[in-house]
């Protein structure tokens, strides 16, 4: 099947990309000054102990041996131990994934729910007040830096009006959902929603604005194509022309952007997570960088890289079903 072959090809490419990420990261680590042993033990500890630790960590080996060891460990899923806390990096990454994923997905949902209808309205009512409104909104949204937006939202809605909390994540979504399913208690879910609202809006605003614009210009573009006139000539209902034909074709490029953005949301929620003290990967990454905790930095970035690649393959697969010409290339 063309589709299977397509997926296989994309997966092999993905593996190459991940290898590239790992190698670049390893190179960066090698040229970064600072002795990791200082992070693990008190600087006052004697040289002999320090040398022993260095040996244990393999830091006395030549660089290519260290690289080989690292690749080998990665292949079996061993990300090493954090210098700072001595806990396994894999655990430290995995335990933070749900929070980041929740935030990324919530931001995407906020974006899609607002952007697609807004874009459709804007694209079908060109140069009418609704279009001007949507266009202005998206211009503002694209130009607003999200650290500023986050702080403003906190000041306004959390501090001034006290509608939303300033941050943190008192309950995980899967726990809240489990509570709801087992005891029909919605309180936890509502708490979760209450806490994620501001971070999701903050993270999703740029994205919303971007998708609105893409949908609008895509719709206008598609409406100008001859096939739309030909479809109108068939006499099928306007709804079908607008959604089944025009919007469907508009979504093809948007899905690509969507996928790429979801990838950046996972890695790029650093600012939003920091502003809202949202305990995700981004916040942990910032801490790890401040501590020069290389195993943890590498672990998080490699994880984000792999997620990014997987999301992209998924996006390509959806793209191929929507736009069958891709398979033939």
């Amino acid at each position: 099947m063309a589709f299977g072959k397509f997926l296989l090809k994309r997966s092999l490419q993905g593996i190459l990309v991940v290898w590239g990420v790992v190698t670049v990261l390893f190179g960066l680590r090698a040229i970064t000054p600072g002795d990791p042993v200082n992070l693990i033990v008190d600087p006052a500890v004697d040289l002999e102990t320090r040398e022993r630790i260095r040996q244990e960590l393999g830091l006395d080996e030549p660089i290519y041996v260290q690289y080989g060891d690292y690749l080998g460990d990665l292949l079996v899923g061993d990300l090493g131990y954090s210098y700072q806390s001595s806990r396994p990096v894999a655990t430290m990454v995995i335990e933070r994934v749900p929070a980041t994923l929740e935030l990324a997905i919530a931001a995407t949902i906020v974006a899609l729910v607002i952007a697609i209808p807004l874009g459709v309205i804007s694209g079908t009512r060109r140069n009418e007040p609704a279009d001007y409104g949507a266009t202005s909104f998206s211009l503002v949204g694209i130009s607003t830096p999200n650290f500023w937006l986050g702080i403003m939202l906190i000041l306004l809605l959390a501090v001034e009006f006290n509608i939303f909390p300033t941050g943190r994540r008192p309950v995980a979504f899967h726990d809240a959902l489990w509570t709801f399913l087992t005891t029909f208690y919605v309180g936890d879910l509502l708490t979760w929603l209450h806490h994620i609202a501001l971070p999701a809006v903050t993270l999703g605003t740029y994205f919303t604005a971007l998708i609105t614009r893409l949908t609008r210009s895509g719709m206008l573009d598609e409406y100008g194509k001859p096939y739309v006139t030909a479809t109108e000539a068939k006499g099928i209902p306007e709804t079908l022309i607008r959604y089944k034909h025009v919007l469907r074709n508009t979504m093809i490029p948007i899905i690509t952007v969507l996928g790429l953005q979801l990838g950046t949301l996972i890695g790029g929620a650093v600012v939003t997570e920091t502003v809202f003290s949202w305990p995700g990967l981004g916040l942990r990454l910032i801490t790890a960088i401040n501590n020069l905790d290389w195993p943890l930095i590498q672990g998080i970035i490699v994880f984000v890289g792999i997620s990014y690649v997987i999301i992209n393959i998924g996006v390509d697969a959806i793209y191929a079903t929507l736009n069958p010409r891709v398979l033939d290339e």
Binding site: K225, P226, Y227, T231, G235, I236, P237, Y243, N323
Partner: protein
């Protein structure tokens, strides 16, 4: 006696662009009989396609039909709209421009359908060909399940239904029966393996196949009038012949009326019963094939016939050969010098629009000519003063009258005795652009 199916009176379609108002079609009259093939022929930019699209109500902004009446002969429709819009009904005729847009829309597919010039861009690239044809079938199925309904919900399909249809196949717009009919239609137009082909996407078809598929799609609604806008222009010559054959056969079988838009006189000669020659938004000469090919009066028609390469086919050559006084210059093409006018309102004077390119322009041409009866059949009409008086050198306009000297001077066939010049004029190598067309 044949009856008219479509009567267009005084149709004007204008485009309101940033450069100004463009009179793409001005005060155009047209009468099409049921079951005939009527051809509209002319250069690019003469308003042919706009005429066709005006009839089927596909004019898009910034264009608008500003004036005129389009009377469509349909008993059922006349009955259905008589109560609400008595002023739009005359016997079994309905003036389509006086009824609401939804009524006009309801005629698409079932009363009118259209074949477009470029099949490759006229199909949605992301849906299968079968699905797209099935949509057209579905329009017909729903319309015939509920005849006479022009306001009807049958034409509506809500967003809710569309969303539901993603989970409930029964709510889909296109039914299984329509899909099967689409396959039959593909077979009808000569697509091999129609069952497999129906599931393929437009990019998997060749140009000729896709044009056949488009014909199938246009036939799906069993239309009364098929508008074919340059149906063969984008195709290879051999495929062109096949597609024309197909249209010919289908027309014979179904008896539908075809309005054929083309710039190719060979296609006209082969397909049409009657033909109108269009120039600058109006029909300058109309009549039966014989009228236009053999007894034409308008120098523009003459010019068009002179621009046909000889390899076009015997019909075209016949037309040229019959005109004894028309020298073919050793098989060289004789393009019409100059370009079609811009059709910008402010640049169109009150004169014959062709005068600036006409080799026989006279002082009489400075006022806009009405339609005169032509010399041929009673159908023959021509918008040119030559229908009433002979060309005389004495009244001719000087060659540089219109500024640019892109007008061909009166040549030999205006001077049959050859008293004026005895040298066969040599054509310049360059064709229509600029001064290249001028005779020396």
């Amino acid at each position: 006696m044949t009856t008219d199916i479509l009567r267009v009176d005084g149709l004007s379609t204008r485009f309101f662009t940033e450069q100004g108002q463009v009179n793409a079609v001005s005060d155009l009259d047209l009468r099409i009989e049921r079951g005939e093939v009527f051809g509209i022929v002319g250069e690019s930019g003469s308003g042919k396609s706009v005429t066709a699209r005006s009839v089927i109500d596909l004019i898009e902004s910034p264009g608008r039909i500003t004036d005129g009446e389009i009377w469509f002969n349909d008993d059922g429709l006349a009955e259905a709209v008589a109560d609400d819009h008595p002023e739009a009904v005359d016997g079994s005729f309905v003036n389509l421009l006086e009824v609401p847009e939804r009524v006009r829309r309801s005629l698409r597919g079932t009363s009118f359908s259209m074949i477009f010039q470029d099949p490759e861009s006229s199909f949605n690239p992301s849906l299968t060909v079968g699905e797209q044809i099935a949509e057209a079938v579905e329009v017909q199925r729903r319309a015939s399940a509920n005849p006479r309904s022009t306001r009807a919900k049958t034409r509506e399909y809500s967003l809710g239904s569309l969303v539901l249809s993603t989970v409930l196949p029964s709510r889909k717009y296109v039914s299984e029966a329509s899909r099967e009919r689409a396959i039959e239609l593909l077979e009808l137009v000569g697509i091999p393996d129609p069952v497999e082909r129906a599931d393929e996407y437009p990019h998997e078809y060749s140009g000729g196949m896709l044009q056949r598929a488009m014909i199938a799609q246009a036939l799906a609604g069993e239309p009364d009038v098929l508008v074919a806008d340059e149906p063969t222009t984008a195709l290879d010559v051999t495929i062109q012949a096949q597609v024309l054959d197909l249209l010919d056969d289908l027309q014979e079988e179904t008896g539908m009326t075809i309005l054929l838009i083309t710039h190719n006189l060979g296609v006209v000669a082969r397909m049409c019963d009657r033909v109108g020659v269009m120039y600058a938004g109006e029909i300058v000469e109309r009549g039966t094939l014989e009228d236009v090919f053999d007894d034409h009066v308008h120098p523009y028609t003459e010019g068009l016939l002179g621009s046909i390469p000889d390899l076009e086919g015997p019909t075209a050559r016949r037309a040229a050969d019959d005109r004894a006084e028309k020298p073919r210059g050793g098989g060289r093409l004789e393009p019409i010098p100059g370009n079609v006018p811009s059709l910008l309102d402010r640049e169109m004077g009150d004169r014959c629009y062709f005068a600036d390119r006409c080799p026989k322009a006279m002082e009489d041409c400075l006022s806009h000519p009405p339609e005169y009866d032509g010399a041929g059949s009673e159908e023959h009409e021509v918008r040119c003063v030559l229908a009433t008086r002979e060309y005389t050198e004495a009244r001719a306009l000087p060659t540089d009258y219109f500024g640019k000297a892109d007008r061909a001077a009166a040549d030999k066939h205006a001077d049959p005795d050859g008293t004026e010049t005895d040298v066969q004029p040599e054509r310049a190598e360059s064709t229509v652009e600029g001064t290249g067309g001028e005779r020396r």
